[in-house]
Assembly symmetry: C2
Homo-oligomer: 390 residues x 2
């Protein structure tokens, strides 16, 4: 529970399976707002709208639908995004500039805007401080579980809460905000400091995950802060403490997203140590984390480190393959570019039977390190994505 925020969800008939597909989050009073968005050049209409409205710096409500991305939908798309927010504004009697929108689902089909607008009164009527779990369900697409996290913090002046919901599942890659996430906090903080905290937290969470290397057109992370707890960020230290807690919340959600990646059966942290630079480490970790061959080997519980070496070699980074060490969990598989033998293989195979493990790559070229969370690549990923629209 986070003071002064309510949420709700309904089924508006956008998803073909009749599940909840429309969510609303409302702050009792205008909240400072910050956001990060997809860097894809193809942006959904609600993303374009939110980027404009973010400049206002204040937000009262976010309306989000699943089942349709409202992307590549031309002028009607933008008009529909505006209509979604206007319906909420009218029903709550607030300024529609203070309403944000988000959509997720199939690209290129017109949004069923009448269903959305027609369901707004029910959404508003259902608003409740306990509504976040339900809202988290309503933004799911191929997610199998709702993702909702709450954390409490304290700074001088009082305690405060952050509650955030997110959805992920596919089209996830670590070069931007990679999904939908809405975070609400009752701390008091101005929108500039809030944006700074979000940038910090986003870099440590959603920008460190990958599922399939594809990048959504709809990625949106919004944070609202309404100050209702009485705790207020006044100093840089307080701002830093808040940013850390926000980061913790988003990291938990990011991990939940990867663990619930389309078809995922394994959650794997790829850590690159001692690259020539942090950027090099990041490139190497990303290339390994996105390699289909590496990910199918994870699915097969096969410690096929040769595929990791091959991925490192095409990362576009200068390094010496003949000094690389690789560990699966705590078990060293590769020393100076060559395999450590069958005992190490057996140990690694044991580690890979876990649903969560790490792969550590020491390139011994400098002091740059980075890590990325990824998942395995299973038969179900293909099944889910071959049939997604049908």
């Amino acid at each position: 529970m986070v003071k002064g925020f309510k949420a709700s969800a309904v089924s508006a008939g956008i998803k073909k399976n009749g599940k909840k597909d429309l969510a609303l989050i409302v702050s009792d009073t205008p909240a400072a707002v910050a956001g990060v968005f997809t860097r894809n050049r193809v942006r959904a209409a609600p993303v374009v709208l939110d980027m404009q409205r973010l400049e206002v710096g204040l937000c009262r409500a976010v309306i989000a639908n699943s089942g349709n991305a409202n992307c590549c939908t031309g002028e009607k798309g933008m008009s529909d995004a505006v209509s979604m927010t206007r319906a909420v504004a009218d029903s709550l009697n607030i300024d529609s500039k203070h309403v944000m929108a988000a959509s997720t689902g199939v690209i290129g089909e017109p949004l069923q805007i009448e269903s959305v607008v027609g369901n707004v009164p029910d959404l508003v009527a259902g608003l409740s401080p306990q509504g976040f779990e339900s809202a988290a369900e309503a933004i799911m697409t191929t997610d199998t579980r709702p993702k909702c996290v709450t954390r409490k913090g304290s700074i001088e002046g009082g305690t405060y809460s952050i509650t955030a919901i997110a959805k992920g599942a596919g089209m996830i890659r670590p070069d931007m905000a990679t999904m939908l996430c809405f975070a609400c906090t009752d701390i008091g903080v101005d929108s500039a400091a809030l944006q700074q905290a979000l940038n910090y937290a986003n870099e440590r969470s959603f920008n460190r995950i990958t599922i399939d290397g594809d990048t959504s057109t709809n990625d949106t992370v919004l944070v609202m802060a309404n100050g209702k707890s009485g705790a207020t960020v006044k100093t840089k230290d307080q701002g830093d403490a808040f940013a850390e807690l926000l980061s913790e919340v988003l990291e938990v959600l990011a991990k939940m997203i990867v663990a619930d990646g389309e078809g995922a059966t394994k959650l794997v942290e790829i850590r690159v140590l001692n690259a020539a630079s942090v950027q090099d480490a990041r490139c190497m970790a990303d290339t390994v984390a996105n390699s289909n061959l590496v990910k199918t080997a994870f699915f097969g519980e096969d410690a096929n480190w040769g595929r990791i070496m091959a991925a490192l070699g095409r990362a576009g980074v200068v390094f010496d393959p003949e000094i690389v060490d690789i560990w699966f969990g705590e078990s060293k598989m590769v020393e100076n570019g060559a395999g450590c033998g069958s005992e190490a293989e057996a140990a690694a195979a044991g580690i890979m039977r876990n649903s969560e493990f790490s792969v550590t790559i020491d390139v011994k070229s400098g002091s740059g390190s980075a890590s990325v969370l990824t998942c395995d690549f299973s038969l179900d990923y293909v099944k889910i994505n071959a049939d997604y629209r049908s």
Copy 2:
């Protein structure tokens, strides 16, 4: 049949299934040689060896094994690659500097060099002008079909032939020679002109295909020209004519490789028209061709053009999504960034039921065009790669 070349293959027990896994190609006389190799920073021992020996400019024989990549195998790896070539040189009584080696298969396991060396006498004994199909079988890994192509050409002075074998299947992406290919021709041409012809042909064939976006550590394309036909390249026009025929041979093989990609059920040409530059067009085509979401939709015969738009948007290229047109085959699916409706969908769905079709993307930003051959992403890709080593 190409004059003065013989080939053979045996099963040396490197592949666990007992199939042919060792191939030899021999020219009766020293042949001019040219090569292109993987740009992966992690290079197999035989790649490193061949790159050195290519400087000699002459070649008598190539020995190649499947089942083991002889990569990430340390000093033993290089010593094994040298031993392979020395066994051939001893058996043929030629200089081992004139013998090249190639390996393909699992990375990181020591090569069973005794089996290789022990089988060289049988390989040599089996040499035959009709041995190329058999050699093509012996270099297969997860390929389901041998790939062998012969073409005849004529220039002033006579007719000549090119026979080439190749293998592909996985770890294929279009930023280099992406597999093993050995081409033999009885035209006379010096090694500099031969290299030029190969560069031209490679750019038009193996550098335009992708299967899974991964890049092998072992990619090797070698062309040998022994002049036995009597036809000799003397002028630039003759060189160009030869380069065109070589390109035709490699293009046929490249197409065979994609059609036989791991788990592939569809062969799809991604064509990008009117990008700001050829490089932009190439980036866009590559990003679409490598998108798991696009490729799984191909497998599902789902004309999900939104995924194509999303892939274009993350290609790192400046363009206006709202003027993009997309065709499936001859059917326009997207006009100015928006879908053309259910009739177009139905037509596209029909086209996707074919085993071969094209997707054309007009970005209307300039005059740069490019195309890439890709395949769909099926359940079998995951099955094959989850179990590859076991």
